[in-house]
């Protein structure tokens, strides 16, 4: 009956224990400590100073102004440009505190390279933190994406010593940020102590003006406290489940802020990785910053996560029109607040005027100014780069480019979607094979109740000419590199597996067959085969086990003929597993019966990444094994007129090579400016 109390007391004890190392940090950072030392003893009453809080957020490892998938410069993003804004702000406000809000170490090929491809060793600092060290950040928070590569990686690259199941620590922490990090609302399940220091108290030496006009030196103690969305528990369940737990941001702030004050913090700055949401408070809510702002004792908030700009008088974003939110001044329930967009596009600036009252510094709110500064100038050009950034990460940047260009395999055939609408599968079968392989492996290992079910896979030609002749997948024979994978799998999707019956498969294919207009065999004029139904919804199987015909002379929902599995008519009540993507598995395209009720596995892995690792495993792709298994064909019918469709010009040989001998070229340009040509298909063959 007292068990609960034991739990509660143990939690309190472990928090006490956790605060020991914190106290050491505070002492180191804060000199001798003690609230009366927050300014040098000589600081007279009414001494004034100005302190600027500078914020970066959601940098997502965009160190360089560079797009690794396009292998091209992108001036609209990158830390190397926001660093220029930091330098300018520091020149303007010599007393400043540079803070990062989080979502810092994940998001580009560079971060994947350093986390997974060629993991950064313990002795080396992650490229992102390296340049932040170079720019002398004063403090940082932890976003949700920091957890994306798992706890051991986060522990390593932040130079932490997590006491968490599954994390091993060396004698000394690994190389990491040289600035303090704070996160107050994530706890170790093992110790019930906060995973990071919940807050830090930073002593900032500032110049100030005494009442007699003299310039004096003083010090201001700024307490920073960090929060991350409690929803990390579902987003990174595979890494976090059972290992850590979260606490509500409001409860946590209410607990720690008075403690920070009692330890001498003149100012309390909240680093909250979350947007604004005024719906009823819940300890697990994702965007807690609106509710946080109401906790007493907060002088300013630097927020993030939503990839938005605040303040911005012109903003139409819902969260910035909530009650209590002043999107012109940059306040939330009166608390100065900034959100500086994402990918290094903006720098947040909160200017605070401070007055010394004889024992501590207070904010004179009449002098507060909040703004988010863009790296883009009024004339649409961008500020210059800070050259030291590129120099500092030259090796990592070059290695990432090399990685993106490195062949992951070779193919003996051209993989394209020029004729996917009429049955050519050279760019689709490999995707289906990769998805089926991935799901089969998962089911065998984790879903024993389904291990006897056949695993099929379905995919669609995502690039099917809507935007013109260049809007087709086209990977030449020869080497296949990482960046080709984005051509083979265009969209950001994750692999889902659904369990369906034979009848569902029939309905699924009937819906996909909306891709075609109904063809009247007796019409002597040309008839266009392809309807306005999007190519990305033209799902198809490419399995030797599953065969079907599409009869385009029939009305919608009665076009699928001779649907067989392993040579016999498919049993409408038999169960199958179909590998697909999150869009379809969530009801995208409104395919009848296909929605979350059918999902047996919602994987965290991107279809594109699954494809990359499958190609890496195969090494050699051949037309015979990976590009020619057609599950479907059109039902044969003789038409009096031509049945036509469009594709890029001069590609007929691809169709012929793939065995589609019933295609002919009508012209080399359809007369539009879209680089498209007309083709005909003879449905009688």
């Amino acid at each position: 009956m007292f068990r609960g109390l034991v739990v509660k007391n143990r939690l309190v004890d472990s928090l006490r224990n956790a605060s020991l190392p914190l106290a050491i940090v505070v002492m180191v950072l804060g000199g001798c400590g003690g609230s009366n030392d927050s300014a040098t003893p000589a600081t007279p009453v009414n001494t004034k100073s100005t302190l600027a809080l500078l914020e970066t957020t959601d940098l997502h490892t965009n160190v360089m102004s560079y797009d690794y998938f396009k292998l091209a410069e992108d001036k609209s993003l990158g830390f190397e440009r926001v660093a220029t804004l930091i330098n300018a702000a520091r020149a303007e406000f010599p007393n400043n505190l540079l803070l990062d809000n989080g979502d810092t170490i994940q998001g580009t090929a560079l971060s994947d390279y350093q986390a997974s491809v060629s993991p950064v060793p313990c002795t080396q600092t992650l490229a992102m933190y390296k340049v932040m060290n170079l720019m002398k950040f004063d403090g940082g928070g932890i976003g949700n994406h920091e957890f994306n590569y798992g706890l051991p990686f986060l522990n390593q690259v932040t130079g932490s010593k997590f006491d968490v199941d599954g994390v091993t620590n060396g004698a000394t922490p690994c190389a990491g940020p040289s600035f303090p990090q704070a996160l107050a609302n994530v706890y170790s399940a093992k110790t019930k102590a906060p995973l990071f220091s919940p807050y830090q108290i930073i002593t900032k030496n500032v110049t100030a003006t005494a009442p007699d006009g003299r310039t004096v030196s003083a010090s201001v103690k700024v307490g920073i406290i960090g929060f991350t969305p409690p929803t990390i528990m579902s987003w990174d369940k595979r890494w976090l489940d059972g290992k850590v737990y979260t606490q509500g941001v409001v409860e946590t702030a209410t607990k720690f802020i008075p403690e920070m004050r009692s330890k001498g913090a003149d100012l309390v700055v909240v680093i909250s990785h979350g947007g604004l949401d005024n719906s009823t408070y819940d300890p697990t809510m994702e965007n807690g910053s609106w509710h946080l702002s109401k906790v007493p004792g907060i002088d300013a908030m630097v927020i993030g996560h939503s990839h938005q700009i605040f303040p911005d008088a012109a903003s139409t974003v819902t969260q910035f029109s909530l009650p209590g939110v002043d999107k012109t001044k940059g306040t939330v329930n009166g608390v100065p607040t900034v959100m500086s967009n994402y990918w290094g596009k903006h720098l947040g600036v909160i200017k605070l005027d401070l007055v010394y009252d004889g024992s501590k510094w207070n904010v004179d709110s009449t002098g507060t100014r909040v703004e988010a500064r863009s790296t883009q100038n009024a004339d649409k050009s961008y500020v210059a780069v800070e050259p030291s950034i590129a120099l500092a990460v030259a090796t990592e940047h070059a290695a990432t480019i090399q990685y993106v260009k490195t062949p992951i395999g070779t193919t003996d055939f051209n993989m394209s979607t020029y004729f996917a609408d009429v049955g050519e599968v050279s760019a689709i079968e490999i995707v289906n094979q990769a998805q089926a392989d991935y799901v089969s492996t998962y089911v065998a290992a984790n879903l024993p109740q389904y291990k006897t079910l056949p695993v099929l896979s379905i995919s669609a030609p995502f690039k099917s000419g809507f935007a013109g002749g260049n809007d087709y997948t086209d990977v030449a024979s020869g080497n296949v590199a990482i960046n080709n994978a984005a051509d083979l799998y265009l969209y950001p999707n994750t692999v889902y597996a659904v369990r369906v019956q034979g009848s569902d498969i029939k309905n699924w294919l009937e819906t996909a067959a909306k891709r075609f207009n109904q063809i009247d065999p007796n019409l002597t004029t040309d008839q266009a085969l392809i309807s306005t139904f999007p190519g990305y919804n033209f799902d198809m199987f490419t399995s030797p086990d599953l065969k079907y015909e599409i009869d385009v002379t029939q009305a919608l929902n009665s076009r699928i003929k001779n649907l067989t599995y392993k040579g016999v008519a498919i049993d409408p009540t038999a169960y199958f597993i179909v590998a697909t993507n999150n869009y379809r598995g969530s009801g995208g395209g409104n395919f009848p019966g296909i929605d979350s009720t059918k999902v047996i596995y919602a994987s965290p892995d991107a279809n594109r990444d699954v494809l990359i690792s499958y190609i890496k495993g195969l090494k050699t792709l051949t037309f015979a094994k990976n590009g020619s298994d057609r599950s479907w064909r059109f039902t044969k019918v003789t038409t009096k007129g031509r049945v036509t469709f469009k594709s890029a010009p001069n590609k007929l040989s691809l169709a012929t090579t793939a065995g589609l001998t019933n295609i002919s070229s009508i012209n080399n340009s359809d007369g539009s400016a879209n680089n498209l040509a007309d083709y005909a298909i003879d449905l009688s063959k």
Partner: protein, 254 residues
Amino acid sequence: MLQTLKRRKLPFIPFLALATLVVAVGTWQYQARHPDDAQIEQWGVLAGVQDEAAISALRTAATDGSKLASRALGQVLIRRSDEASVKDGQRWLQRAAEAGDARASLLLGKLLLKGGPGVNADALSARPWLEAAVKGGQPGGAHYLGLIYRQDLPGQTRAPQKAVYWLEVAATAGFADSQFLLGQMLLSGDGVAPDIDRARTWFEAAATQDHPEANLELLMAYRRNDLGLKHSTEAQARQWMEAEHSLRHRPDAP
């Protein structure tokens, strides 16, 4: 004056200490027997990381009749992989639901709809619990009612109009999954007259909440100049980022 006070106070000190002790012990006993909601929620959090003491505390409180503890315990147990725990969890949820806890009704309805170790997926058994959840103030239940009516099931013919009705209840309450599905039904005119503008509005509402599929829908629409969205390089670049990024940001299911 000060002296007087001090003199008066002194004899009371042992008494006050004793009284404080009595009150404190009494309070502890009372709190252990009658934990407040915050305490039960904290046990729920710790039980979620399989803290045996917290699970045991929840079990005691649930046995003593706390609806909240009963639900929290059930919620933890149904996440386990063994049949015995899941069935035990189902019983605790049912107990809380029968006592009027709408959140427990929702959890029980979801469990019955999806099934789990030892629990057969049974949409028709789930339905009354989901209806009770909605009536009790948990509009998330409406999402699952919408899903049920979208299906052909033994004992139920697909009823897209009803699906649209319930999805709209959940979508209006703000659930991104419901907003996305309702948008899909509006787009294809399933159970409702086709309405591209309303569909887009719901997709946008879901996308604002980082719903990955709604963001993808908007991205694909930008590429196709569809849903009344015009192809603009900037809007499309932004939408690529949102679609990619939101994959790791999925809003919680209702």
